[in-house]
Amino acid sequence: MTGPDGAALEDLWVYLATEPLLWLTATLVAYQFALFLQRRAAGSPLVNPVLIAVILLVALLAVSDIAYQTYFAGAQFVHFLLGTATVGLALPLWREGARLARRAVPLITALVCGSATAVASALGLAWALGASRETLLSLAPKSVTAPIAMGVSEQIGGLPSLTAVLVILTGAIGAVFATMTLDLIGVRNWRARGFAVGTAAHGIGVARAFQVHPVAGAYAGLAMGLNGLITALALPLLAHFL
């Protein structure tokens, strides 16, 4: 056997590029690298690991001319665990137990106000700046977790795949700006902070909250679930007026 020549390397690339192994590995490496960068930045929320890893991988796909579908065939194993981790959010909620029950009224009130504010201000701002109707409808459910948001978007006449992108961007924005915003308005307790991030920025906000404090994470997870529920129920009704 001779050493690898150009043709052999090309064969290898063709094999690797279409097998799950390479893209699964790339996803994990990109995430680890992004975490490393965040640690180097003293844990700054501006260096959000999800955002950085996504940018790296989008650039990698563009440079190597690989289709998203090919990438996803490998990365889907990570994606699958999202559902499993969502089920796992039950554990921090259960740990909060009775403390949670005592706060039911403030939590629900804050959720409804915050959720309505997010939807109304998103539509108002985008409309004022001349966004298309399709973009507006795709934008409406962007604060809730992706599977719910995509379903709602389809129901009210948006583009589900665009909604998925807007959901991800919302999550990243929430994770980046939450700490600064909450410090600025002087809200100090972990429950309020976590719950606010989960309401406005769903799972990526929850991921950020767990990075900061377990109680914030629990309340963020709770907010994500509840906001998904009320948005799925209310938006299709409200969409008649859009």
């Binding site: 995430y31 999800v50 740990r95 998103a122 719910i148 991800i168 700006f177 972990w190 606010a196």
Partner: protein, 120 residues
């Protein structure tokens, strides 16, 4: 570890089945989460078995959003065309949502007791 994974998958599957059969507007995993909270109240011993795996998963929750996030590459054209309204709307509404939720909760919530951890 394996037992924890098995329990999580069972609850995820149960959530998926019930959500679809009942035609609920909820994703299966969210319903699975609700079912697991109920199960934990009925059988607290389950929490110890789940602990290690769940805490590990949730500490790295961000990783799990990356594959879906890379889907941004499918809409780069539209994002380039309408980037201004989209960016302003996303940043403005996300911050507004965080502010309103936090302030309303803070105004209505019971004072944090002495057993509660104080933030820095």
């Amino acid at each position: 570890m394996l037992e924890a994974a098995t329990w999580l998958l069972i609850f995820q599957l149960a959530g998926e089945i019930i959500a679809r059969l009942a035609g609920l507007p909820l994703p299966g995993p969210v319903l699975g989460m609700v079912l697991l909270v109920i199960a934990l109240f009925l059988r607290p011993a389950l929490a110890e078995k789940l602990g290690v795996l769940v805490d590990g998963l949730l500490a790295n929750l961000g990783l799990l959003f990356i594959p879906a996030g890379v889907g941004v590459s499918l809409h780069l054209g539209l994002l380039r065309e309408e980037w201004l309204p989209i960016l302003v709307a996303l940043i403005g509404s996300t911050i507004a949502g965080i502010v309103v939720t936090a302030l309303v909760y803070d105004a209505l919530a019971p004072r944090e007791g002495s057993d509660e951890e104080k933030q820095r």
